[in-house]
Amino acid sequence: MNYTLDFTPVIDGLPDLLAACLGTFLLAISGMILAIIIGIGGVVLRQSRFKPVRWLVIAFIEIIRNTPFLVQIFFIYFALPLAGVRLDPTPTAIIALGINGGAYAIEIIRGGVQSISKGQVEAGLALGLHKAQVFRLIVLKPALRAIFPSLTSQFVLLTLSTSIASAISAYELTSVSQRIESDSFRSFEVYFTVTAFYLVISWLMMRLFAFFSARYFSYPVK
């Protein structure tokens, strides 16, 4: 073993890497917001009166959950231009993350909605609340609270899978580190440091979710 570790390229590239951390963070947050929107929309469609609509949602969930994210991101990357949508890699990655995370979110949120007893909804309607108010206040909020732990771990996974967006060269930490690596050939040093960055990012994500949980869901149950 006659290799000396040299972290100089990593230190020189530190400003770029830290900026890229922010890129990863923004990518993850945007993906999560889209995933939540798709998740809530999917739950509504999943309980549709029309069978074909329900089947479509189930098919969507199973296709996404049983194929690799890398293949999905390639597919979306090539499919969007054919559909007449020209986007940069980063927005494309957000869409892919949102679709992937959304499929998981539908199942998670549905579990939460099912945990709300029907009597609560009926009580809300009897009190004269509007349907949308009942959904927002009596169904959605307590449901979100019930599923928050599983949503958190799913979204930490989503944060980690942003690294796969480097395959279509979206702006995030992995693609920037690959550029520094190919400039300096200090592969191990670069990837080792970046791995540590990811550890910090996923820890911060968990803290963020814990904060939200304490801020919005810490009311007494009964």
Binding site: N66, P68, V71, F74, F75, F78, I164, T174, F188
Partner: protein, 213 residues
């Protein structure tokens, strides 16, 4: 896409299956060790394994593969991409399976351990014949869920440069310029591998939930 291209994808599929199998079997053996260490009751060992699990669950699989790939070369072990990716997936799987199995070992009622101790059974005997068979049953749905995740994770080996299904798809799509068709077929092949497992896992989960009631 002609028959030759499809055959090339099937060759890639073979390597995806091989990678998944190696990762799952070797990762399972190592994961069992992790789970036992994590529940050993010895404070320092529990701390170390908890840290090991946290590192692997808090970093992307892609980075783990990179670090193993270049790290092994650094300490003088020259491995081809196949072996390096196998090692990476094994470490990854050992952490996740270790955590799943820790949970199921702890989910076995305490009375079982106490009864085994009262009967003066040795640690090995107690684990092998009392705790682990019950824990295995509890862990089965989550273990199958992770196997699906692992199969999907092998696609990242393509980024390190190993030709499995996804990379075979990349190569074919660069040759025939029909990325959508190629990746739809690649996706379908993954789906055919994963979906039966997902269905089986969900069925087990339902059955266990019913019997627990």
């Amino acid at each position: 896409m002609g028959r030759d291209e499809f055959f090339f994808l099937l060759l890639g599929l073979k390597w995806t299956v091989a990678l998944s199998a190696v990762g799952f079997v070797c990762g399972g053996i190592a994961g069992l060790g992790i789970a036992l260490a994590r529940t050993s009751g010895i404070r320092s060992i529990e701390r170390i394994t908890a840290g090991y699990i946290a590192v692997f669950q808090g970093t992307p699989l892609l980075m783990q593969l990179f670090v193993v790939y270049y790290g092994l070369a650094l300490i003088g072990i020259r491995l081809d991409a196949w072996a390096a990716v196998s090692v990476g997936l094994t470490l990854h799987a050992s952490a996740y399976l270790g955590e799943i199995w820790r949970g199921s070992i702890e989910a076995v009622p305490r009375g079982q351990t106490e009864a085994a101790k009262a009967l003066a059974l040795s640690y090995v005997w107690r684990m092998k014949n009392v705790i682990l068979p019950q824990a295995l049953r509890i862990s089965l749905p989550a273990t199958i869920g992770f196997l699906v995740q692992l199969i999907k994770g092998t696609s990242l080996a393509s980024i390190v440069g190993f030709t499995e299904l996804t990379r075979a798809g990349n190569i074919v799509s660069n040759q025939i310029f029909q990325p959508l068709t190629v990746f739809a077929v690649v996706g379908a092949l993954y789906f055919l591998m994963c979906c039966p497992l997902t269905i089986y896992g969900a069925r087990l989960e339902r059955r266990f939930a019913a019997s627990a009631r």
